[in-house]
């Protein structure tokens, strides 16, 4: 028996081991190829960002012009230089311009600087900003971004998570009552999302701040900020209300409409009809036959939403003077502050690459039909 069993046992283990090895090899190969592909994509994306941010080198010309203008005007307008000998003053201007150009690295060829930007970015050595300074006075890009991160996470987190979960719940509800008044209302109002959030923001400011005087015009907390943590939190919430509302309002109906249509499509699949015909309770049908297959898409949306929190809401933050990353990026673009633009982009690029990479595995966990590397 034992002898007879032994070969059988060996024969049964061998295919399992072989299958495991095969899976391991398949997944490993997939991981290596995927990581390399994503890395190359990130490198190309960042390099393109650097080239675009530099406007192909034209930013050098712009910056040199700005330096000349600023230095000249500063010296011309400074009374202590007005009675200086013209030659001395001219030499001072030229020397100051040269020093400023050197400080900005404009004496280094653009190609060399681009490669330097790229390698620094890829190693997350974000360096120093050209023009911008963090609120606390630091020129380090890392600190500038980190200082603004909490404000952005707070605003974007609250608005986007609320939008995400409320949209799904309401959409699911509407999909159950296709064609009723609320469904029609949402469909009718969905084009309102064509209006950007900052536009809603301006109206909300006019109504709630200027007219009704119940909410602040902008900023993150009262001036001066309350010292008591509870009062500080309440002040924060008060300032958060309008920007959050504008972000939610601008996407609310369209988001519900999207998910509702999505759920309706899945609701009309043959296997759903079959389940209903078999007499399964509607809750089971909804959970197992509609929600389950839509899970990969919902997870994808959620994952991308989470990393999109990093980018902030550029113009809305500016309208509300919200000290977030979006406003920082907006200022950096206006000032051609390439290190900040690149720093913000590389972090988003890495987050996106990691998310895409992880999502492949997530799909296989939630959907048995998906096989990693298969």
């Amino acid at each position: 028996m034992t002898i007879a069993v032994q070969p059988a046992s060996e024969n049964s283990v061998a295919p399992k081991v072989s299958a495991r090895a095969s899976t391991f090899l398949r997944v490993s190969r997939y991981v290596v190829v995927r990581v390399l592909t994503l890395f190359v994509t990130v490198v190309i994306g960042i390099y393109l960002t650097i080239v675009i941010a530099n406007m192909g080198g034209f930013v050098d010309t712009i910056m040199k012009g700005e330096i000349r203008d600023r230095v000249t005007q500063t010296i011309i307008n400074n009374p202590s230089y007005q009675s200086m000998e013209p030659e001395v003053r001219q030499q001072l201007i030229q020397d100051t311009i040269a020093a400023e150009e050197e400080r900005r690295g404009l004496n280094v060829p653009i190609a060399v600087r681009n490669v330097r930007y790229l390698s620094n970015a890829l190693t997350l050595n974000l360096g120093r900003a050209h023009n911008m300074t963090s609120d606390s006075g630091s020129k380090q890009v890392r600190l500038i971004l980190l200082e603004r991160l909490p404000a952005t996470l707070l605003l974007m987190g609250i608005s986007q998570l609320f939008l995400f979960f409320s949209s799904i719940l309401l959409a699911l509800n509407l999909s159950r009552h296709y064609g009723n008044f609320w469904d029609k209302l949402v469909v009718t109002l969905s084009p309102t999302s064509a209006v950007p959030p900052w536009f809603y923001g301006i109206f909300l400011i006019l109504i709630f701040a200027a007219l009704l005087k119940v909410l602040p015009f902008g900023g993150m907390v009262d001036s001066p900020p309350p010292s008591n943590p509870l009062d500080y939190s309440l002040s924060l919430l008060k300032h958060l209300a309008l920007p959050t509302l504008s972000l939610v309002l601008s996407s609310f109906f369209l988001s519900i409409y999207n998910y509702r249509t999505f759920f309706l499509i899945y609701s009309s699949e043959d296997y759903v009809d079959m389940a209903k015909a078999k007499g399964l309770p509607s809750r089971d049908v909804e959970r197992k036959y509609i929600l389950r297959p839509t899970l990969p898409n919902i997870i994808t949306n959620f994952a991308l939403l989470i990393i999109s929190l990093w980018t902030g809401a550029t113009i809305t933050e500016t309208v509300f003077l919200w000290p977030g990353l979006g406003r920082t990026l907006f200022q950096a673009i206006g000032l051609y502050d390439i290190p900040i633009i690149v720093g913000s982009t590389i972090i988003y690029a890495y987050l996106l690459a990691m998310t895409v990479f992880l999502l492949d595995f997530m799909y296989s966990l939630v959907d048995p039909r998906v096989k990693v590397g298969g």
């Binding site: 010309t61 712009i62 040199k64 012009g65 700005e66 000349r68 000249t72 005007q73 010296i75 011309i76 307008n77 400074n78 009374p79 202590s80 007005q82 009675s83 200086m84 000998e85 013209p86 001395v88 003053r89 001219q90 030499q91 001072l92 201007i93 030229q94 020397d95 100051t96 020093a99 400023e100 400080r103 120093r128 300074t133 609120d135 606390s136 006075g137 630091s138 020129k139 380090q140 600190l143 200082e147 404000a151 400011i205 701040a209 200027a210 007219l211 009704l212 005087k213 602040p216 015009f217 902008g218 900023g219 993150m220 907390v221 001036s223 001066p224 900020p225 003077l321 000290p323 051609y336």
Partner: protein, 863 residues
């Protein structure tokens, strides 16, 4: 049924609108404190300032307010925020197109010069000879002055809130007032006259080889004469419509215009970054900002700067301009002060103004006025040139009109834009505005602090000095305006051998004139300042330490040491300006420490004697705002010497460390560490010199007070001004200033500057004047319905125009009594008037305010 529903809906809408209207804030009926001049045709001061309650006598020290909260506010919502009561005052200047909105909101506002705009023309003959540049012809450039209607621009683009500008000097300011007859005559000569412009262009273009095509467009070498116009589309948004208007006018006289809308960063490299002869542009909408009123008192340097190839800007298009030799010499001589008297200088300026219009490298268009709105219960003092944020006396006089104390909320454009340190930190106007409230001295007056700048004339008054004397070399064009100083001219100003002229960073001692110049040294001017006897008892730093001689000496040293390569504080970026400044510097000498008496010698001078007084004060040696106590500099120097933080951004970038901030960020921890070290060691910086002025006991007290201050307030910003910086919130972008009760002066110390004393002028006389007969006109000059004192009026000029607007004669009115002058036109003058309408204009030049008052009277000249 449908009609009924529609009616219901409309009714609801109307009702809703009424509710909304009822909710709107009530518009105050009080008139704004300042009314803008609508143009040069209308007197700037015809609208008297609103009635202000007289400031009552007070026992309060420091500022009028208990607390000032400053935060960042979006300028677009500033007016709404004041109406909503969220802020009391938006201190950052807004462009003049918001003036109607401020008026409609019923708010008060400041009114100051924000900058000036004009069209820069390319004067070069292009390398490509197949392309014609009409502006290489001076007469065509000059003709644009007739082609462009400046009043139209002011009304249409700036809502009438700015001033038309023709000349390279600021309209209706000090220099303009000084040359009022020339300025008015030129404005009359170059008044809008498109027919005259067209006639000049029609005459000049064929001479340059162009011909008018059948479509009415100028052609050259068979192609249209196309003007490339770089029109700025950014900034306050006013340059784009301005560019469009100029383009339309040019097209109306036959030119083809290629309008290229560009931002500053796109246009600037083409405008000043390309060789003018390459022909990449013909016109550019140029704009310039202004500094304080003090620097606008003498604008003689503008000729060279704005027209000549010797311009300080040393770039295109200036270097390509070939000017008339007489104009070139005049401009260079004026810039270098090559004249012997004010009369000679004024004559040179008058001629230069005429020639500047014949050159017209720039065609000036607008002196833009800017506005900072505030609630009607607030009193704001502001510099007439630069507005409230650059006004040194501003924080002293800022108050609620109806009460002492209280918390005033200010909104501004930004805060903490760069790290704050008074050596090489932030110089942004909104940051400096706050810093100024914490300081006693002023940084924008030649020589340093201790004086208070007059926001309405640009002159200065002693704030913390007992007496002052100016000695200058005979022949220099220096004029005394006020009597708080003595002024003497001498054949030669010798610098004493024991005066300090340089610094030995190795031995840490001053180098004397005797050591550096054994054969002796002379200077153009010598300033002697005697400080009050009780200076060291009455003036305290915000941390409680009394001011001392050490503070003064430390700041002398700090003005030299960073330029010495052997110093641990060596900073190449600071060395540039220090070494440049040393060219004119001739020495300091402390002749007494009780009372403190300091002499300073220099070759640099300004034409106003008051502005040559150098009341040295412990403040930035580099023109920044903020004060430096010696102990704070000592702590900062220790941190910089260790390479952990640096004063300047340039050095910080070089060492890859943070720039020093005395109010926030990673610097605070570093500074706190070195404060502990300095306190433990009773550290006296630059000991070989400073220990002569600072004792160990003083050092211990200073460090202990500073440490306590840091523990209480969380920052190191310590000054001697009427307010101290209580709390700083860098991320939230707000801060709190509190009244400094130990400030030596009462809150009403500068009440004389509460508001500008602009004159209201009326002119009356006969409606008909017979040619060849004498005619008398009465001038009434008031301020707030009270006669303007004769002693407060510098002069009253009259200008007589004929029906064509040509100037017939210019003269001085005769004083009669307070608030009354008389213009007497002689028989010879009236005989020159052709039959028809004529106009008499008077310009009142007051002493307390730099803005003249104009009014005119039309009459008919009959044979």
């Amino acid at each position: 049924m449908k009609t009924t529903k529609l009616h219901c809906l409309l009714s609801l809408l109307v009702a809703f609108s009424m509710v909304l209207a009822a909710c709107a804030p009530q518009q105050a009926t009080e008139t704004p404190t300042q009314a803008p001049a609508a143009g040069t045709d209308e007197p700037a001061a015809t609208a008297a300032p609103a009635e202000e309650p007289a400031a009552p006598a007070t026992t309060r020290h420091g500022g009028w307010l208990d607390e000032i909260v400053v935060s960042v506010v979006d300028g677009d919502s500033a007016i709404s925020q004041i109406q909503a009561g969220a802020i009391d005052f938006f201190s950052f200047n807004l462009a003049s197109d918001v003036y109607p909105e401020i008026q409609a909101a019923g708010l008060s506002t400041t009114q100051s010069l924000g900058g000036y705009y004009g069209i820069s023309l390319n004067p070069a003959v292009f390398t490509d000879t197949s392309v014609l540049n009409p502006f290489s012809n001076r007469k065509i450039r000059e003709s644009l002055n007739w082609l462009l209607d400046r009043n139209y621009l002011n009304q249409e683009i700036y809502a009438g809130g700015s001033l038309p500008r023709l000349l390279p000097i600021t309209t209706e300011l000090v220099e303009y007032t000084n040359l009022i007859d020339t300025a008015r005559a030129l404005e009359s000569k170059y008044a809008y006259n498109p027919e005259r412009a067209k006639a000049v262009i029609d005459a000049e273009m064929p001479a340059m080889g162009a011909e008018l095509g059948p479509d009415g467009k100028w052609q050259f070498n068979g192609a249209p004469v196309t003007l490339i116009f770089l029109i700025r589309s950014d900034g306050d948004g006013t340059r784009q419509p301005m560019g469009d208007y100029v383009s339309n006018q040019l097209e109306s006289v036959g030119f083809t215009v290629d309008r290229q809308y560009k931002t500053a960063s796109e246009a600037f490299p083409i405008w000043q970054g390309t060789v003018a002869a390459d022909g990449q542009w013909h016109l550019y909408t140029a704009g310039y900002g202004v500094s304080g009123l003090g620097s606008l008192r003498d604008e003689s340097g503008n000729i060279q700067q704005s027209y000549l190839n010797t311009s300080i800007q040393a770039s295109e298009p200036f270097i390509s301009n070939v000017s008339d030799p007489e104009f070139q010499k005049l401009g260079d001589d004026l810039a270098q002060g090559n004249y012997d008297s004010k009369e000679e200088r004024d004559a040179m300026m008058a001629r230069a103004l005429e020639l500047s219009l014949e050159d017209s490298l720039f065609v000036w268009l607008i002196d833009q006025k800017t506005y900072a709105p505030y609630a009607n219960n607030v009193q704001v003092t502001f510099d007439l040139a630069t507005g409230p944020e650059s006004t040194n006396v501003g924080p002293y006089n800022l108050r609620f009109k109806d009460r002492e104390g209280g918390t005033l909320r200010i909104g501004t454009n930004d805060l903490f834009t760069e790290p704050w340190n008074p050596v090489a930190g932030s110089n942004w106007i909104w940051d400096a505005h706050v810093m100024r409230a914490t300081t006693m001295g002023t940084s924008n007056i030649g020589g340093g602090g201790g004086l208070m700048a007059d926001p309405y004339t640009g002159l200065a008054y002693p704030q913390r000095i007992a007496s002052a004397e100016l000695v200058y070399k005979e022949g220099l064009p220096i004029n005394q305006n006020l009597d708080w100083l003595t002024v003497t001219a001498v054949p030669q100003v010798d610098v004493p051998a024991d005066a300090w002229i340089d610094w030995d960073a190795t031995e840490q001692r001053f180098i004397t004139v005797g050591e550096k110049y054994p054969d002796g040294l002379t200077a153009n001017v010598k300033s002697v300042v005697v400080y009050p006897d009780d200076l060291f008892e009455t003036v305290k730093w915000h941390d409680g330490s009394p001011i001392s001689v050490g503070d003064f000496v430390m700041n002398f040293i700090q003005g030299f040491d960073p330029a010495k390569p052997e110093s641990a504080l060596y900073d190449e970026s600071l060395a540039l300006s220090i070494n440049a400044g040393l060219v004119a510097f001739k020495g300091y000498r402390i002749t007494s420490t009780d009372p403190l008496t300091i002499e300073s010698y220099t070759d640099a001078y300004l034409s106003d004697a008051e502005l040559n007084i150098a009341p040295l004060w412990p403040q930035s040696a580099f023109g920044l705002t903020g004060e430096n106590s010696w102990q704070m500099l000592a702590v900062g120097n220790l941190a910089e010497a260790a390479g952990e933080v640096t004063y300047s951004e340039d050095k910080a970038a070089l060492l890859e460390v943070e720039q020093m901030s005395w109010v926030g960020g990673p610097s605070l921890e570093v500074l706190a560490k070195y404060l502990d070290q300095a306190a433990a060691e009773s550290y006296i910086p630059f000991a070989p010199t400073m220990s002569q002025y600072v004792t160990k006991e003083e050092a211990d007290l200073r460090y202990a007070n500073l440490k306590k201050w840091y523990e209480d307030h969380g920052h190191f910003w310590v000054g001697t001004g009427p307010y101290y910086l209580d709390q700083v919130f860098t991320t939230e972008k707000s801060l709190v200033l509190k009244n400094f009760a130990d400030f030596p002066d009462l809150a009403d110390r500068w009440a004389q500057f509460s508001e500008p004393k602009k004159a209201t002028t009326l002119l009356d006389g006969p409606g008909q004047v017979k040619s060849g007969e004498e005619a008398v006109f009465d001038v009434t000059i008031n301020f707030k319905d009270q006669p303007y004192l004769l002693s407060d009026i510098a002069r009253v000029k009259y200008i007589l125009y004929d029906a064509t607007g040509a100037v017939v004669s210019v003269g001085d009115a005769t004083p009669v009594a307070d608030g009354e002058y008389q213009v007497t036109l002689s028989a010879e003058e009236t005989a020159k008037l052709p039959t028809g309408s004529a106009r008499l204009e008077v310009a009142v030049v007051p002493i307390p305010v730099a803005i003249p008052s104009f009014t005119s009277f039309d009459f008919v000249a009959v044979p």
